[in-house]
């Protein structure tokens, strides 16, 4: 472990479109654009627009960064501090917390980050957790081998996360007409990026 972890961390320069508090969680805005002079890739970021664990997220460093100014952020592949919403309780080790729409803070039960140290005072240490499975409800009857839409639910199934998987295909082992509208399904992400239902209905 380094003596000065902040210096040794892999930082990505970013420029937000609004003031970001220290440790705020952001999503990509217009992309990561190399500077025309130096070639340094600077991420253009914004506040999360949807509650989702499926997007690439960035966590601001320890500094407040004004709109249009440069800051430093990480992808969270190593344990980093992030803001959490104290209204969702106190993060406990092992829980999944993810980004909430219109917030710089993590919310409980949303995939995206695993808590590695109990939260305290609005700041929690988390590490990126790759989302490979998620639960949701089919929005309509699902035909065999046809794309369908699944509303992704929070991990605790307490409600719709507001995020949809629009191109989910049933697993080849599933029979035609097996999934009806409103059925609970489990989806997984294949290596080619295609989401597929592998468990339904329940």
């Amino acid at each position: 472990m380094s003596q000065y972890p902040l210096l040794d961390r892999t930082w990505i320069p970013f420029r937000p479109n609004a003031e970001v508090p220290a440790y705020g969680v952001m999503e990509l805005n217009t992309g990561i654009v190399p500077d025309s002079y130096s070639g340094i890739a600077v991420a253009a970021t914004k506040q999360a627009t949807v509650t989702s664990g499926l997007k690439t997220l960035f966590i601001n460093g320890p500094e407040l960064v004004a709109s249009g100014k440069h800051g430093r952020c990480t992808l969270g592949w190593e344990p980093v501090l992030a803001l959490y919403d104290a209204n969702d309780g106190t993060p406990a080790v092992g829980e999944q917390w993810g980004v909430k729409a219109s917030s710089w803070k993590l919310g409980v039960g949303i995939p995206g980050f695993e808590v590695v140290e109990t939260g305290d005072g609005g700041i929690v240490r988390v590490v990126k957790s790759t989302v490979r499975h998620c639960w949701g409800k089919a929005d309509a009857n699902c035909a065999y081998n046809a794309n369908c839409t699944v509303s992704v639910w929070k991990d605790d199934r307490s409600g719709d996360s507001g995020n949809n998987l629009t191109t989910v295909i049933p697993s080849p082992t599933m029979e035609s007409g097996q999934v009806d509208s409103g059925d609970w399904v489990r989806c997984w992400k294949r290596a080619d990026g295609q989401w597929e239902m592998d468990l339904a209905p329940c």
Binding site: Y4, A22, D35, P62, E63, A66, G121, R125
Partner: protein, 590 residues
Amino acid sequence: MAELQGIVTFTGVNQVVECSFDLTHGTTPSVATLTIVPQAQILSVTGTLRFQFGSLWVQFPDCKVDTGSFERNDSNEIWRLSIFDRRWRWADSLIWGHYNVPIDSGYYRGHDTNYPSEKTPGQLAEKCFLAMNETTYDRSNMPSNPRPEAEWDYQSAASALSDLCDKVGCRVVLDIDNKVYIRRAGVGAQLPDGNDVLSRSMTSTPNIMPRLAIVTDKIRYQMDLLLEAVGEDTDGSVKPLGDLSYAAEMGYNATTQRFAEIPFPYWACFNDAATSEAKRKLADNTVLRWYRVKCAKTSPVVVPGFCEQGAVAVAGGGADGSFSITDREWLLPLSREQVQTEYDQDEKQWKNKDAAVYGVWFENKDVRTNIVSTLTPSAYTTSRYKDSFSIDTEHGIVHFGQPVFRNMETAAAPTQLTIGPALLRLRTACCVCYPGERTQARYVRAIKNYTGDPTALHCVRHDEITPGVYCNYSSSYAVQRLYSNFAWMQKTCDYFLDSLKKQYEDPKPQVYRYMGLKQVRLDGAIQQVTYSMDQGSGMTTTVTRNCETMDRPLSYNERLRVERSRSIQDIADAQKAGSQKRQRKREGRQ
């Protein structure tokens, strides 16, 4: 009563007709010249030279015949030769070692209990005697205070001993009891008077005693120097951050001392102009990495004890003897060491502490508070910067390997980091120029109670005396208490002043010539005893005090110079031979 007759004998010589032997100070052997009844060969190369006059005698064992000095008659018989006294054995002695290596504080490196480097002159002399295989000696008259540096690199031990004695105002004396003494130069007994004195010669040379002074090495002052963040500008100049031409571009506000943009990593803020790359490099290399000693009229550096340096008075000093410097140039170059010393467990020796940086800085850990909240002297132990840095001593700039900054948020438990320059001090030593003059201060120790010619001054530099000063600071960096090695230094200076003074005191040189053999012992004042025996005047003894007889081929000082040059020549010859050998090897390989 039969008339007493002088007899001179030497082992292996049948009969000595005439003899003259000058016994003198130093490590080079004295030479006896013998005229003998011609004989085919000398039976012994070494032996005892003995002078006898009635019941009185002196003898010098282990003398050696100088075989190159033989003079022969027509029958090829030897009739004149020279003999060295036993100091001939010292010529081939070798010594090596480095002792009393001075460090800034005036102490000496290598206070290891197993291998101490600090040696008194007496201890150094012992080493020389050991190398010379000399066991019968007395060094009790050597001074104990001076610590002359001895850097012996496989050189003649006899020459090293001569040099050492010269440095501390002593002489090597082979006395008539065959024992070697170290005597204080100029100090010794009066010449004995009596009926046997054939002639007396006394001259008096009254001298004007000038004001005598010893000038030491430059005084090293240890200070906690305030540092300010600087950067290199596009024109190559080094300026405070707020004065840099690209200060606004990098988001630095000199008033609030805060960065509006986060400089890490890559200084991505420079992205709007064609000149950005050069500025980025400058900022990345220097901003928050370079901190320079702050010294100006608005923030002077207080030099502790500057006005307490002996004879030289400095106007404008504070009541505590401190003095305020307002130009950084007067402090440069800085040292990389402090005046204070510490015992190095790894190197097993005492050494000056390395220069250290401490203060209010951010540790780059997830804890968002600075390492300490306020810059005070007591923070030295808790807030030392432990990562790498170097000191550009010529310009007074500390170069850090990583950006060093502080969190400008002042809350007890800050929720975020706002980057600003660190508040740092550099604890190191430096020499200080006299205000207005670009000459670094030295300690001047003058003779006390001088009432002579005020315009006459004789100063002698002793760079091996290294004065050092440090102090305790109050929490507001006012000088609280001074520490220095001045007491030790003054004693040492006084010793040298004493020796210097003797040069101006009337030495009252005396030359007495005695009938027969006079058993006069050599000391620091009695420099030469000449035993002569010839057929005309019989045996006589000539003794000189505070002078040498004019008929000596070389005076003591001349002999000293010859010894030194011979030693240097030996080294030069050895180096030349070595390089020639290496050259031959290289040529052989090719």
